[in-house]
């Protein structure tokens, strides 16, 4: 669930924009902009509030498009724009730009622009500025401190730790970017440690304590407090990894298990285990452009994994993973993409439409 912004201003793509260098076409679902050359569309603007987030609701037709958001701050000379790169995807999901994270952003800017490279075709529904009041921003920052990441393959190498952001929209997708767009909370905790150590030391000196004792107490109390807060924060995050594993894997039936973003891969492996045992070679058909991977190599061993098609004559057991185009008809004929049947046999077990174990009749 995304939190609602305190205030927002929606900016439609209309006559207020300078569209002279692009081809604009009204569709039922936004304005289709075609860019025969590298071009910028600009307009003047006056934001009634302090904006910290820009949401560009647009779809790139064809492939994803790199674009630029530009703004002219009133503090800069005329004609000088600051530019910020972003991407528009072909899937239609909105691009959220956390303007508040950039020191150059100025809510009093009087002109904005969007720049696209030659050949881009984008359908823009809206451009919306959002802003939050002071207390909402502080509350969002506090909540983002307690927003946890998930157990990833990189978690044994490093952990992002508490990340701060001002935007509720951004907090909802905090760890989906690499690196997360936000500040490390340590940027606040480190100065806080120094400040609190100084304050405690000063207070104790005023109370007549010896300087060395006061300093040691100041440093000790500050360090201990910050350590306890961070230990609690990171400890709960790691426990949340375990809780997630329990709900998505441990407590699920075998065929429904999912492990850390691998979807039903581990469920397929578990169900295929009795059918792989004792085999010298097995076949694997997986997503296009994705190699077999260390997971299957490890779990299948000593069976060697082959991805060769047409199927070699000595392989009778095939793992198919995330191939909705792989089908087995009522006669047991296995084909991919509706092409000529590759082999004939039976489906031994299945975890989803495109993931199953196939036993070929040799």
């Amino acid at each position: 669930m995304l939190a609602h912004a305190a205030t927002s201003q929606r900016v439609a793509i209309d006559d207020a924009w300078d569209l002279s260098r692009v081809h604009a076409e009204e569709t039922g679902d936004g304005i289709r902009l075609t860019f025969p050359h590298d071009a910028i569309i600009t307009r003047s603007i006056h934001l009634p509030m302090r904006a910290d987030t820009l949401i560009v609701d647009a779809i790139a037709e064809g492939s994803s498009t790199d674009a630029m958001f530009l703004w002219h701050s009133t503090k800069l000379p005329e004609g000088t724009f600051v530019q910020l790169p972003f991407s528009i995807s072909r899937t239609g999901s909105s691009t959220i730009i956390p303007l508040g994270m950039f020191s150059q952003w100025d809510s009093t800017s009087n002109a904005i622009g969007l720049a696209f490279p030659q050949g881009s075709v984008v359908r823009v529904r809206s451009v919306t500025f959002e802003g939050r009041g002071f207390f909402e921003r502080v509350w969002t920052m506090a909540r983002s401190f307690w927003t946890f990441d998930e157990f990833k393959a990189s978690s044994v190498n490093f952990l992002w730790g508490p990340i701060l952001t001002l935007s509720p929209l951004h907090r909802a997708h905090l760890f989906e970017n690499t690196p997360p767009i936000g500040w490390s909370a340590h940027r606040i905790l480190l100065p806080l440690f120094c400040l609190s150590a100084l304050i405690i030391t000063a207070v104790l000196l005023c109370l007549g304590r010896q300087w060395k004792s006061a300093l040691y107490l100041g440093v000790g109390y500050s360090a201990a407090c910050i350590w306890l807060i961070l230990d609690l924060r990171m400890g709960i995050e790691i426990l949340s990894y375990a809780a997630h594993d329990w709900t998505t894997y441990v407590r699920r039936p075998l065929a429904e298990r999912q492990l850390r973003g691998s979807q039903d891969f581990y469920a397929l492996l578990a169900l295929s285990a009795p059918h792989i045992k004792g085999k010298e070679r097995i076949g694997y058909i997986g997503p296009r452009g994705v190699s077999v991977g260390e997971h299957l190599t490890y779990f299948a061993y000593p069976a060697q994994v082959s991805t060769v098609l047409p199927p070699p004559p000595d392989i009778d057991t095939w793992l198919v993973f995330h191939r909705p185009d792989a089908t087995v008809d009522e006669n047991g004929l296995f084909s991919i993409g509706g092409d000529t049947a590759l082999m004939q046999g039976t489906v031994l077990t299945r975890t989803s439409r495109g993931s199953f174990v196939f036993r070929r009749t040799l």
Partner: protein, 469 residues
């Protein structure tokens, strides 16, 4: 045999031999506490036991199944037991000093107990879930530690060319690492009779618990039980340490052996002259086991450890250097007995050194961007809480105690290793390990327990200064 029984016997059999060997090395008077000897047996026994199995298998090509493992390990146990029985009559009363008695205020006790319970919850929940209830997930386990163990188990041999590898690629890949951890997994699987995921991953939980217990035992001698418990709380509190302790990577395994070796050297220098020789010999056995953990141990940790050893002998003005020199010669012999066969094996099979990258290919030049990557890892991520800030401050505020006492040994080790890491990351293509935030953090895992040992050992003095008025 059930997985649990295989795990218990798997550790117990080599630990028995190690326990006897440790008692014999201590000399006529025991210089280790029962707890220390128990923990070191469980640490060194499996490691050195796997070394002997490796030797026997390499020389005889006997297949790696339960019979070979049991014959070798039980044979070692029996031989050592015979020597122990023959020497037992010469043993004198133990020379172990009692742990310092510490009184702590009630409020501090309540806080300590609360933190300890929190620590226990974290270890139990994360360790059980990540190691025992979900399948192997981490990359290095899938293509190194677990994969090699499974290949050894299925092939019943020390196969160097892994699935999907060419012979040439295998020489500079993960097969260049000592096979200790994979071989131990193979051993457990042979005892159980099948490759069982939870069984082969469980040793990582045992090694983590051993690491915490050994840290406790060392701090018990230095500071008493409250601070020893606090040391465990601090170490488990480090998020990346907890992640490594509860996943099937081998870096905690290395850190356990490092802590054993450096900790024993520290105890040696804190002991009186009657205990010194025995502790030195035990430290030598730990150093020998360290050589059999990872390539970094041979290339970086052992040389620094050896340099510290020699500095200790020189600076501590031992009235009679004869005993420590003899014990040092014995330690060198033990290390050589492990290192030499392993180096011969690597040379004869064309295996390289380096962290799965051959060292010979490393050019020496400044690597841009590494300093900021390291700063981000240390100060602006969630890996170490704020220990990289607090530790230098603590060293500075307690510098007199560090420089004038025996804590200079583990502190010097940490600083030397850190300097070594920095040189590698700042001046060689290993900088990718820092830039990509991969191997850098894992290198710090190796020395984190020693950092916590020093931190905790300095705390009593710090608190005394704080309370002085």
């Amino acid at each position: 045999m059930t997985p649990l029984l295989a795990l218990l016997l798997g550790f117990a059999i080599p630990a028995l031999g190690a326990g006897i060997a440790l008692r014999l090395l201590e000399g006529r008077s025991a210089v280790l506490t029962v707890l220390e000897r128990f923990l070191l047996s469980l640490t060194l026994g499996p490691t050195l036991g796997m070394f002997v199995v490796f030797l026997v298998h390499s020389l005889t090509q006997a297949p790696l199944h339960a019979r070979l493992f049991l014959e070798v390990l039980l044979g070692i146990d029996l031989a050592l037991l015979i020597v122990y029985i023959m020497r037992r009559r010469t043993f004198l009363p133990p020379l172990v000093a009692a742990a310092p008695r510490v009184q702590i205020p009630r409020a501090a006790l309540v806080l300590l107990v609360t933190l300890s319970l929190w620590t226990l919850i974290k270890i139990a929940v994360a360790g059980t879930t990540f190691l025992l209830l979900v399948p192997t997930y981490a990359s290095d386990a899938l293509d190194n530690w677990n994969l090699r163990g499974k290949v050894f188990y299925e092939d019943q041999a020390l196969t160097l060319i892994l699935p999907g590898q060419t012979a040439e690629a295998a020489k500079s890949g993960v097969s260049s690492y000592p096979p200790t951890v994979p071989l131990f997994k193979t051993y457990l699987a042979t005892l159980h009779g099948d490759w069982h995921e939870a069984l082969v991953n469980a040793p990582h939980a045992v090694w983590f618990l051993l690491l915490l217990s050994l840290l406790f035992a060392l701090l018990l001698r230095l500071t008493g039980w409250p601070f020893a418990l606090l040391g465990i709380v601090i170490l488990v509190g480090l998020p990346l340490e907890l992640m490594h302790g509860t996943t099937n990577y081998a870096d905690v395994f290395v850190s356990l052996h490092l802590l054993a070796a450096v900790g024993l050297l520290l105890l040696t220098m804190r002991s009186d002259k009657h205990q010194r020789a025995g502790l030195l010999r035990v430290a030598g056995l730990s150093a020998a086991a360290l050589a059999w953990t990872k390539n970094e141990s041979v290339l970086l940790y052992l040389p620094i450890f050896a340099a510290l050893w020699m500095l200790c002998l020189y600076f501590f003005h031992v009235p009679s250097r004869r005993i420590p020199l003899r014990a040092s010669a014995g330690a060198l012999l033990l290390v050589t007995c492990v290192l030499l066969p392993w180096l011969i094996f690597k040379w004869s099979h064309g295996l390289t050194f380096g962290n799965a990258k051959p060292l010979s290919s490393l050019a020496f030049a400044w690597q841009p961007g590494v300093l900021s990557a390291i700063a981000i890892n240390l100060f602006f991520e969630g890996n170490w809480l704020m220990l990289p800030v607090f530790f230098p401050i603590l060293l500075l505020m307690c510098h007199r105690k560090v420089l004038s006492g025996t804590l200079i040994i583990p502190t010097g080790f940490v600083l030397a290793v850190s300097a070594g890491h920095m040189v590698l990351y700042l001046f060689t293509p290993l900088s990718a390990e820092a830039l990509m935030q991969t191997g850098f953090g894992r290198g710090l895992i190796h020395i984190a327990p020693i950092v916590v040992l020093v931190t905790t050992a300095l705390l009593p003095g710090f608190l005394r200064e704080a309370r002085r008025d």
